[in-house]
């Protein structure tokens, strides 16, 4: 323990006022720690290789699991014969639908409940059996030795065919998973008053999450207590699902997920693999490590569903939008997964328009179930809406940026309530200015007149994200040790966005201590506090105010204790750097670390809860992205020259990780717009053609521009929460593909309504002409 009670404090740093009990803290006007470019508190672990991810866990006596999956898009399991496999070297556990361990267990996902082993396999990748052995090699040898008889059934994997009546039914009640209808105003009237009405069909490909760390877990029993290390975005969600399926009290299921190698929505819940690991660990009385193979992760851990959309839009010559009519169909997959969920939200909410109708039909197909994927629905809807906006602008002879600025809504029309703040206008205006929009357009047009076969285009897209304000519940505990150092305890996962670092910065800001002396415990249901999964761009706006509240709770207690030491009423006291000082008599002061109550107890514990969100107001992040690119019209090759992301996500909490999010979202958007698509063998087997990272193409270092710029549009939003932070992780990937599509249009004069636009599609359309 340090002798000097101030060494863990940032000397001379003023700390925010401590609100009286029951009072809300004031919005930070200026910050000293928050917002600065701060390397991550766990960077050392991540760059040194010492960070232990769930896939790195190795326990004494541990064995390795592997899963036999149905190789057919649609089949019934007639017979499973594991006789050969059971006797193979190293096999310690084996489970099938016939095993007593599996009896009666139900798998539950988004309201669906069915047998853990369902003999009726509705997608390629459904579980049929599982094995655990001394090495993963032996486990796979045994999987290959299980003989299964299948009744192969007809399939439908094309969502556009699911409702035609000719397709086989995925479930007894038919292939319609759900319908969502929305209407406001008078749509027919809106079109009647339009000067220009356009209608267009759009399609987006199925994008797969494929985070770098494989999905998986380690399961370990100590008597009736189960511990799971899961690569997860939310340990409490995993705990809840597992305890439900296994019929165990929450207290007996401990889930740990300190580090995790990316999820993007696909790791919000556990998988059947988690349950199988737990069951086999019980069977073998040994810990089981169950890490899926890369190929499996293409089949059964979610996707961004492909969408087929139609958008009809009306506009007056002055740029007033008069009506939107939007229709969309998309597949949940084999089970409820949200095939069209919030695809229409941007049409409802982004631009001022009084008359809007939306119809979404979610269907079942014989393919892997969808899961939320970074800004669910939004990149798809943006693909339609932002291209339509550019087309409308062209038809009425208006600059696309002008048209958007003309239609900035004053309220959230989809909800009928105001936004706390909207930075949409600033994102578009300031982004365009920084990007040099006008010059870039001029430059592109000049090049395109020059006769070169290399054409140039610039394009942009704007967006908002449906949520992004976070909200309760969340609990955070901060421990102040008697030497002034701090322990921060929260349940939330850091999925790579820098959550831990931002929380350390918030605590440091509020307590005046150095961020690097803050030790963080997180993502462990056994030892850390309740949090919802990290997703929906809500982690920072949820947890940061909670951390702040916990820090304030610590300060209030210290002030109470100091009041005794100083013989002054607590109401007169407040923090001043590392000291507690009487505001009435500045000579009365004491080092925090000298406060006798703290010294006696050794530690003071502050508890913070996430307060409610503002009533009748909507908290949303906004953005605009800008892109410049070139097209080789002989070969169809494309090169993105630069990208700029102008984002209003409220207060910038850490500029370093903020920029990283912006760039990363753009990279993923480039994938959605140009390289990534799931290819099913629809006309023959229904099986997945591309189940690896060669056939399914993520953008590489050579596919993204070196020239990327992040322009934060920082607007004070004290109503959002007491830190003013809004979500960032999702808006960053919403308008990327549409900006690319609009730039491609400028370069080629072709509307690319089908995503992704890879060189094959580009070359096809260049040949087919504008109509193709």
């Amino acid at each position: 323990m340090a002798e000097d009670g101030t060494i863990y404090y940032t000397n001379g740093l003023p700390v925010p006022d401590t609100p009286a009990p029951g009072e809300e803290p004031e919005f930070w006007k200026e910050t000293d720690v928050v917002g600065k470019r701060t390397p991550r508190v766990d960077a050392y672990e991540r760059v040194s290789g010492t960070a232990v991810y769930p896939s790195d866990i190795k326990l004494p006596n541990m064995i390795y699991g592997a899963i036999l999956r149905c190789p057919h898009a649609h089949a019934k399991v007639k017979k499973v014969d594991a006789g050969r496999a059971e006797k193979m070297p190293g096999v310690r556990a084996l489970i099938t639908g016939d095993s007593p361990e599996a009896g009666g267990l139900k798998w539950k996902y988004r309201g669906y409940s069915g047998p853990l082993f369902d003999a009726h396999c509705r997608f390629e990748g459904e579980v049929v059996a599982a094995v655990a052995a001394d090495t993963p090699y032996q486990a796979w040898d045994a999987v290959h030795a299980i003989d299964v008889e299948y009744d192969v059934l007809p399939h439908v994997v094309d969502h556009n065919l699911a409702l035609t009546g000719k397709a086989p039914e995925v479930h007894d009640q038919g292939n319609l998973a759900g319908t969502d209808e929305y209407e406001r105003g008078d749509v027919a009237g809106g079109f009647a008053e339009a000067d220009v009405v356009l209608e267009q069909n759009y399609e987006t490909g199925c994008q797969l999450h494929t985070p770098m760390e494989l999905h998986g877990c380690v399961a370990d029993w100590e008597g009736d207590r189960l511990t799971i290390w899961e690569s997860s975005q939310g340990v409490y969600a995993v705990q809840s699902v597992l305890s439900g399926i296994l019929g165990m009290p929450l207290s007996k299921v401990r889930v740990i997920g300190h580090y995790m190698g990316g999820g993007f929505g696909s790791k919000l819940w556990p998988g059947k693999y988690t349950v199988l690991a737990a069951l086999m660990a019980k069977q073998a009385a040994r810990p089981v490590k169950m890490i899926l193979t890369r190929e499996e992760t293409f089949l059964c851990v979610g996707n961004r569903p492909p969408n087929t959309m139609r958008l009809k839009a009306g506009v007056k010559k002055d740029g007033t939008l008069t009506a939107f009519d939007f229709e969309c169909i998309g597949p949940s997959g084999a089970y409820p997964g949200g095939g069209t969920e919030i695809v229409d939200w941007l049409v409802r909410d982004l631009y001022q328009c009084d008359n809007v109708r939306c119809l979404s039909r979610d269907v079942y197909i014989h393919a892997g179930t969808a899961r939320p994927f970074r800004a669910p629905g939004h990149p798809q809807g943006s693909w339609a809406l932002e291209q339509m906006m550019d087309d409308l602008a062209e038809k009425i002879g208006m600059d696309p940026i002008e048209l958007r600025l003309k239609n900035i809504p004053s309220i959230s029309q989809g909800r009928g309530i105001p936004y706390t703040r909207t930075g949409l206008k600033d994102c578009i205006e300031r982004g365009a200015e920084r990007f040099g929009w006008k010059d870039a357009v001029k430059r592109a047009r000049e090049q395109n007149r020059s006769g070169s076969h290399i054409k140039r285009g610039v394009g942009m897209g704007a967006c908002l994200w449906i949520v992004g304000g976070g909200g309760p519940p969340s609990t955070v505990v901060i421990k102040l040790f008697r030497d002034g150092s701090v322990n921060l305890n929260m349940g939330a996962s850091d999925i790579g966005t820098g959550t831990k670092t931002i929380m350390a910065m918030v605590a440091a800001e509020e307590l005046g201590v150095k961020p690097d002396v803050i030790q963080i415990e997180h993502a462990d249901t056994g030892t850390t506090q309740y949090a919802t999964p990290s997703g929906g761009s809500k982690t920072v706006p949820t947890e940061a105010p909670t951390v702040r509240n916990a820090a304030i709770d610590v300060k209030r207690q210290i002030i109470q204790m100091a009041a005794e030491d100083l013989g002054a009423p607590a109401v007169d006291l407040d923090y001043e750097g590392s000291e507690i000082v009487s505001m009435k008599d500045k000579s009365k002061r004491i080092q925090v670390t000298d406060v006798s109550g703290l010294k006696k107890r050794g530690v003071v514990i502050g508890v913070g809860y996430r307060g409610p969100n503002p009533k009748n107001k909507s908290v949303n992040p906004f953005a605009a992205q800008f892109c410049e690119l070139e097209v080789n019209t002989k070969t169809g090759e494309m090169k993105i020259l630069r990208f700029l992301g102008a984002h209003d996500s409220g207060r910038v909490m850490n500029r370093l990780t903020y920029d990283n999010q912006v760039f990363g979202g753009i990279v993923m958007g480039i994938g959605f717009g140009m390289t990534e698509f799931r290819q099913l063998d629809a006309n023959q087997t229904g099986k997945l053609c591309n189940r690896n990272w060669h056939d399914y193409k993520l953008p590489t270092a050579l596919d993204v521009p070196v020239d990327m710029e992040s322009l934060p549009i920082e607007i004070d939003d004290p109503e959002a929460n007491n830190t003013g932070a809004k979500g960032l992780g999702e808006p960053v990937t919403i308008p990327t593909a549409s900006a690319i599509a609009n730039a491609l249009y400028m370069a080629t004069g072709i509307r690319f309504t089908k995503a992704p636009v890879h060189p094959m599609e580009m070359r096809r359309r260049l040949s087919a002409g504008k109509e193709g």
Binding site: P211, E213, L214, G262, T293, R294, G496, G664, V667, A701
Partner: protein, 190 residues
């Protein structure tokens, strides 16, 4: 019992230990598919003796047999680069390298770039430039940059991009990775 519990090196040595020599042994000695064999590996300057099956990859041996888990598995098929290690200073995929093939070579993993607890220059640059998000591809990215700089101490931006073009980052931290590589190059040559 012939099986090897990972970490518990208790298996009996029934196969001929021909590849235990740094010079390959006579050809008539075949490593049987079902046998384990003693293999000497030089990893980060330290000699390890491990029992392996012929089919075990270097990645599996590093992670599960020896416990050097800094090297990650992302795909097991040479399509992501998370398992990049240096073999005789050259970046390669440990998932596409049989452990028996790595015999007699100098293997460097992310752990080998440290001096004690101190980060190496490339690791330091990654830390400062925030050249990662989830961090799972990071050891591979660091090794790719390390390999690049050992061969090309002052790389151009194009050389940097090509140098890490065998390493996927799903979080899309490429921009910061480029910056970190440049920073590390400047530091290393200074």
């Amino acid at each position: 019992m012939r099986t090897i519990g990972a970490g518990a090196v208790s298996a009996s040595l029934t196969g001929a230990a021909m590849v235990a020599e740094s010079k390959p042994g006579p050809p008539e000695k075949i490593l049987d598919a079902t046998d384990t064999v003693k293999l000497k590996l030089n990893i980060n300057g330290v000699n390890y003796a491990v029992l392996v099956e012929p089919r075990w990859t270097l990645l599996f041996v590093l992670r599960e047999a020896i416990g050097l888990t800094g090297t990650k598995e992302g795909c097991g098929r040479g399509e992501c680069g998370a398992c990049t290690v240096l073999i005789d200073d050259i970046p390669r995929y440990a998932c596409m390298t049989l452990a028996v093939e790595a015999e007699g070579r100098r293997i460097t993993t992310i752990e080998g770039l440290m001096t004690g607890e101190e980060l190496g220059p490339v690791q330091k640059a990654f830390l400062e430039e925030d050249a990662f998000q989830c961090g799972y591809c990071t050891p591979g990215q660091v090794m790719a940059v390390e390999g690049l700089l050992r061969k090309t101490p002052e790389p151009s931006m194009d050389e940097i991009r090509t140098g890490v073009s065998g390493n996927l980052c799903r979080c899309g931290a490429y921009h910061h990775i480029f910056r970190a590589a440049r920073k590390a190059a400047i530091r290393k040559t200074r």
